[in-house]
Symmetry: C2
């Protein structure tokens, strides 16, 4: 069981001796990580999280989820970046991208405060009309513009609908343990509180309360999710080339140094689209600095074989693919024979549709590798909470090792501040007045 | 009105003399296109489509849409690649990505047959249960695996539910005018038929019946969509550097030759996500060949500033951004002052949220260009049928000119066949037996 790395389709691109030669670098990255001597070592809390999480809070998360399920038709999740991507990724992968249309026993879940689109906000407010709602606001500082603005609006909606006291029962704050605007407000109003740990960055936070509360509300089993991560934590402790996680990092590094500057995370299930987005933040924000780093992109096949397929097959040779191969889909479909065979498709009949999807995967891997695109396979026996928990931890650790092998700090994100400062200055935020005129001049 | 190219933020990356120097190449591309002397010139039907479309069929499309609206809760659209992306892009951009949750007066629209996921298929079948449905199957040949398989399944669902005769009233085929499996079946069963023209490739087909029927079912005004395209057709006829469409192609080409190998199409509205996917097919499939071409990617801001923002700001310097700047959102939202200013956000109050989104856009453009990322702006006064029709034609023509400037055939897609052949062989499709054993050997 659990995710397995299949390197059969990179043989023409990466030799065994390359892996041997790079081993000392893997080891150096490993030691930086486990000895807490590397850059960004104040953010390593995710590493032992699967064996070291707050059990008391975990129980409170489950209770809060039950409460929301019992009294709400809709949970509005307010957060941006790492404060929403992990939860949305898990819910869509394991429930469905059509979750809000399909769900019967669990609340619908809408993610807001991850953009500044007034159109999107209005639409979600419309969908909330005449429904019972709860809000989970997720923000370490409480001052990030997008979620703070959305929370201001939904707090008012709740207070109008349920009164100030009624609203308190329906607002759940996931924020800093001790400080910040949201923490202050939560204390003041006696909102239920969960913690964004100090030593875990946003993009590594899906297995904390940040991700777990919304995931639990969707009816998924968060114990199983943690169990999968715990198993991955064990499996990837040792530094050697049998460690699939480290081997994956090494292969990425070797390919990058050969000019494969773009990684495309591929799956054959549309339910993985948001998981791909989670991966893009994890790797893009960790590695994309100092004018280097692999550009993370994604595709869903066979859908995108009919859009990006041509480029991958024949375009610039700068891409490698990492394929998440889910061996057993959540639901299968038996293809019946048609007595007239009006469409000539009887050659597909008398078998499960998942077999057809598998042949598409195999055929594509052969076509792309022959076209010069290395294909790394991550084989998942099936798709459920524990397998996905395992995959999440696999990627988190692979990302940390990759970052150290690239010589960057995988745990900071200095570049994200730049647009924010400009925006604050242009919006006239107190404290940013000096920049304002200069920027307005530049915009002329 | 209409889309306008703003080149203020590429000044530090592309000089005026570069544009002058490249003009002869633009002219050569233009002449290849209008004289039908370039590669792939059998596929230029899209070029005069806005002034030369089949008016009789257009009326039939509107009538069919009315019929579907009157007798169906759900329209199932079966198609892959260019046979679904355009319609889905327009419906989400102008209605909403939440259309199926929000719609009251118009049928829900589900897109199937664009993947081989049994999970997704089962879910859509569940959503169709106890609902009145119609089907629009879109496939030139009728034999592309994904849509053919989905059509086989939904044809049976309809025939079971409505009987063979009842189903005929609910099946609409958009296919070749004269030949192919689907055409034969449509004639045999007297299904209503619409045409995929011979001289228009899938990725250029959104303004034919391929895109127009689903778009009309969603309640959008397809006359206005065509009007916008007609205006763009007029505006971009002349070959000179005041032609925004040609200028955009020229700038892309110049940037590509400077090592900017990745274009990121950016918007500040989540409703544009599928439009970005349409653009990715259009450019990726047109330019990604002969081991060259700009890799098309996309992002939605400010959402992705908190995931890919770090990479764009500070990572590998191979990206340029093309920003679709929608000046007026579909719905705005007035931000009220909070008397306690509990969150310190009153500096955002007493104005529309769209102003805040605009400052995010301005701040980001300044931050990214200063970080070494050229930003091309496409300014759209508002978002409606005619503006989007205009933008669609802008991109189509820009893509053709770009392809010719790159020295490729922008209208073929030979690379897409490769995975299909492998898949057919592995599935045991008649006629592909020879390859089968060889491939199975390679998979061992």
């Amino acid at each position: 069981m659990s995710v397995r790395l299949n390197t059969n389709y990179i043989k023409n691109f990466v030799s065994q001796h390359e892996l041997r030669n790079i081993f000392p670098l893997i080891k150096a990255a490993h030691e930086s990580l486990i000895n807490h001597t590397g850059a960004g070592n104040e953010f390593l809390g995710w590493m032992n999280l699967p064996v070291n999480y707050d059990k008391e809070e975990f129980l409170r998360i489950k209770k809060a989820a039950e409460k929301i399920k019992n009294n709400s038709d809709i949970l509005v999740v307010i957060g941006i970046g790492g404060s929403y991507l992990g939860a949305r990724a898990v819910i869509e992968a394991l429930r469905s991208p059509l979750y809000n249309l399909l769900t019967k026993d669990n609340p619908q879940i809408y993610f807001v405060g991850n953009n500044i689109s007034s159109t999107h906000l209005n639409e979600v407010i419309t969908l909330c009309k005449d429904k019972d709602i709860s809000v989970n606001v997720i923000s370490k500082s409480g001052t990030t513009t997008e979620p703070a603005l959305a929370f201001r609006i939904f707090k008012e909606i709740l207070e109008k609908k349920y009164g100030v006291y009624g609203a308190k029962e329906r607002i759940f704050c996931t924020t800093d343990a001790n400080k910040g605007k949201l923490k202050e407000l939560a204390l003041q109003n006696d909102y239920e509180q969960f913690v964004v740990p100090d030593n875990i960055g946003g993009r590594f936070s899906v297995l904390t309360a940040v991700g777990l509360l919304p995931i639990a509300v969707s009816g998924l089993d968060i114990c199983k999710l943690m169990e999968g991560a715990t198993k991955a934590h064990e499996d990837f402790l040792e530094c050697n080339l049998n460690n699939d996680c480290y081997k994956y990092s090494a292969i990425r590094n070797i390919l990058y140094n050969k000019g494969k500057h773009v990684e495309m995370l591929v799956s054959y299930e549309p339910s993985m689209v948001m998981f791909n987005e989670w991966y893009k933040q994890l790797f893009g924000e960790s590695e994309g600095k100092d004018n280097k780093g692999i550009l993370p992109t994604s595709a869903t096949f066979s859908t995108d074989l009919h859009s990006l397929g041509q480029y991958i097959q024949d375009g610039s040779r700068m891409i490698f693919e990492t394929v998440i191969d889910i061996k057993k889909p959540k639901l299968d479909f038996y293809i019946e024979e048609d007595k007239d065979n009006f469409d000539g498709l009887n050659f597909l009949a008398n078998q499960n549709m998942s077999v057809v999807n598998r042949r598409a995967l195999e055929g594509t891997i052969l076509a792309h590798t022959e076209g010069g695109v290395p294909n790394i396979l991550l084989e998942m026996p099936e798709i459920n909470e524990s397998e996905l928990g395992y995959l999440i931890f696999f990627f988190e650790k692979a990302c940390a090792i990759s970052g150290y092998m690239l010589g960057v700090n995988p745990f900071d994100q200095p570049g994200v501040e730049r647009y924010k400062k400009n925006m604050f200055a242009l919006l006239g935020k107190p404290g940013f007045e000096d920049m304002r005129n200069e920027l307005i001049e530049k915009l002329k």
